[in-house]
Symmetry: C2
Subunit: 220 residues, 2 copies
């Protein structure tokens, strides 16, 4: 095995700021790609790409999302805190460029929907716009906004109140085939990836030999 490169805290600290941002952002591995949809009090829609959405729990159905420090204007965060609702719309391969473009610093009041050509889609349950071009979207009711004092980021927790997806992508056991929906993954600050399923593996038990797992790919 090739001897790996080893970096310590001092090496990380000595890195150029932009280099370090690329490098450290890569270390957590692949990330989900979602567009946060919100509306302000006047109903003006806002859209922003995020790579920090994670599953928090199935019952109640909760998702978490980390926001960057509010040292710059954060229209999405302000909107969702004020309205109490937001949508998360998975980015698929057809809308990668438009989704990435929502990360540009548009002035307040300029809709990223209009700027990128994506289409807002409204629900009767909440004011937050979905992205019509997304093939898997959820709407969330804000439940908690936890400040992370270590670096002034926030961990925002929402409860899922609506899901929109192509029903054909749901397997018999509830697993959703993200590849059938064209969902992409993000690496680092700007890498976008399509995926290919290697396997679905059975529930692991101590007495089940490791080799039996290989035969378990349901290949669906």
């Amino acid at each position: 095995m090739k001897q790996p490169t080893r970096l310590t805290a001092d090496d990380l600290h000595a890195m150029d700021k932009r280099y370090r941002a690329h490098f450290i952002n890569s270390l957590a591995g692949f990330k989900s790609a979602n567009l946060v949809g919100t509306a302000d009090a006047e109903g003006n829609p806002n859209l922003a790409i995020v790579s920090s959405v994670i599953h928090l729990g199935a019952n109640p159905p909760l998702m978490g999302m980390v926001t960057r420090p509010r040292t710059v204007e954060r229209h999405s965060v302000e909107n969702l805190l004020a309205s109490g609702y937001y949508t998360l719309n998975q980015v698929n391969a057809d809308i990668v460029e438009a989704a990435h473009q929502t990360s540009a610093k548009y002035p307040r009041g300029e809709s990223e929907f209009a700027a990128t050509g994506l289409t807002p889609l409204y629900s009767d349950l909440h004011p937050a716009p979905f992205v019509a071009e997304s093939r898997l979207s959820v709407a969330l009711k804000l439940r908690e906004d936890k400040l992370i004092e270590l670096n002034d980021t926030e961990f925002i927790i929402g409860e899922i109140i609506e899901v929109r997806l192509d029903g054909d992508a749901i397997h018999e056991d509830g697993f959703v085939d993200l590849e059938a929906l064209g969902s992409v993954a993000i690496s680092g600050l700007d890498g976008y990836h399509s995926t290919r399923r290697i396997a679905r593996l059975p529930y692991a038990k101590p007495d089940r030999p490791l080799t039996s797992a290989k035969g378990s790919d349901r290949g669906l």
Copy 2:
């Protein structure tokens, strides 16, 4: 465009428990695959797969991870809280089965390293074992353990103190080529995926036309 399936909170609530776990776990999108390496006070190593690791910040270099409620024994969490250190080792395609098998409920004191054939590798900086077969590993010093009262999970935050990876995978600007390292992504509870890069996109600006992004794939 096909009319999507629409589910509301009542639909989610009515789902069978296991079906709902598969379904809700799928909704956040692709997740990183990491093995958490820890040691207890006697130095006995422990290993567990997690799909909830996220990037929290580059300076200081922080990562977050969500743990499940402590209604069952959580050897990794107990170890990292007691020792103050843990490693995160990215799962690559060669060790998917072994990594998944660490999710089995082995009794306390039985090492998942021994049970799965993975190899512990020690550093002079901390007591937490790396996984020698991983091609991108970080060691973290525990910084904070935030209880999420909504569902009794915990959000554990660590600061990166050591990184081990194949240096050839680091691009000139700091971006790490996760595909060169064979890293996999997880979907739902048990889906494992390899990836193919679509693009790296340039830093987005409001005045840059969307179409120019297409020509930006550095194709590396």
